[in-house]
């Protein structure tokens, strides 16, 4: 049986500019991607629309109750946490901030279940603080693959550094290196 690919990306300060480069020309990948960008609410739709125009994947603001499909990037809305139920259905919850942020990528990553049907990938990119550290360790513990952005290309090397210190990160790369690996590992959907 063909496995589902699920990618969860956490990113913060420096994110919008970094993501623009990351998504520019990104092909239609055989994966559902959840994107957790720490960001104030009013900027969500602008960034989402920008990214949607750059990639062959569909980029949209995630909705409560929605089931994830391959080829789509689900942009976590501000001021709520995004969880996945059975690695498929999106649940938006108004629980307290985690690591001073909401949405927190730790919450999303730790909602993932280990299953035989799913390949899980976690990515932590530029930002301050520790959001994503526990989440990435968890993903590694359930057999997933983990990435962190390198110091040279990070606007703020806080979140990636914190994750790397756990020893649970498989690849430390610049955004273009992460992107290249993901394309190679995930494969493309027919366009």
């Amino acid at each position: 049986m063909k496995k589902r690919n699920i990618v969860i990306i956490g990113i913060s300060t420096g994110g919008p500019k970094t993501l623009r480069g990351f998504f520019d020309g990104l092909p239609l990948l055989d994966a559902s991607i959840v994107l957790v960008q720490h960001m104030i609410k009013c900027a969500n739709r602008s960034l989402c629309a920008t990214l949607n125009s750059l990639t062959e994947m569909e980029v949209k603001i995630a909705s409560h109750g929605e089931s994830m499909k391959p080829g789509v990037v689900y942009f976590a809305p501000s001021e709520v946490h995004l969880k996945l139920i059975n690695n498929k259905m999106i649940q938006l919850v108004e629980s307290p901030k985690v690591c001073f942020v909401r949405p927190a990528v730790d919450v999303t990553m730790k909602s993932i279940r280990k299953t035989a049907e799913d390949n899980i990938t976690g990515v932590i990119m530029t930002g301050m603080g520790m959001d994503g550290t526990d989440g990435l360790s968890y993903i590694k513990s359930i057999g997933g693959v983990t990435f962190a952005q390198d110091e040279i290309t990070s606007v703020v090397w806080g979140m990636p550094k914190s994750a790397i210190k756990t020893g649970k990160v498989d690849y430390v790369l610049p955004p273009e290196g992460i992107r290249k690996k993901l394309i190679s590992q995930l494969g493309r959907l027919p366009g």
Binding site: S12, T13, G14, G15, P16, K17, R20, H38, M39, I40, C42, A43, S46, L47, T50, S78, C99, F100, V101, G127, M128, G129, M130, V155, V156, G158
Partner: protein, 124 residues
């Protein structure tokens, strides 16, 4: 809506440099020398991109952002930090949602314009 840029920096040479670079590129800009000045402009209705120095006397950039958030003045505005400091301050951790990006000093006009061009679009 006319999107403006506010530069908040106690260094007059920085304020002047940013003013020249951005006005030459057609942007509307106001310059203030302190966090208090920034708050005053926001209370008067400023809406736009704020380029905020980190190291300022009395009220640093982080304290200013915290005050902006406390007074509910953040909505619709976008903040990028101007800083020469390489290691991020721990205060950023609690304010990370409010800071879109950094412009590292010293900066070239291209580096400043790249950030401004990117983030002015997110002003509501």
């Amino acid at each position: 809506m006319n999107k403006e840029i506010m530069v908040v920096d106690d260094d007059p040479s920085i304020r002047s440099t940013v003013d020249i670079i951005l006005k030459t590129s057609g942007y509307s800009i106001c310059a203030v020398e302190s966090g208090q000045g920034c708050l005053d402009r926001l209370r008067e209705g400023f809406r736009g991109l704020i380029l905020m120095d980190v190291m300022m006397p009395k009220m640093d950039g982080w304290d200013t952002i915290a005050a902006i958030e406390d007074e509910g003045l953040y909505k619709g505005n976008v903040i990028c930090m101007l800083t020469a400091v390489h290691d991020p301050c721990p205060k950023l951790e609690k304010l990370t949602e409010y800071v879109m990006d950094y412009v590292r000093k010293p900066f070239t006009s291209e580096e400043l314009l790249e950030v401004v061009t990117e983030y002015i679009e997110y002003v509501q």
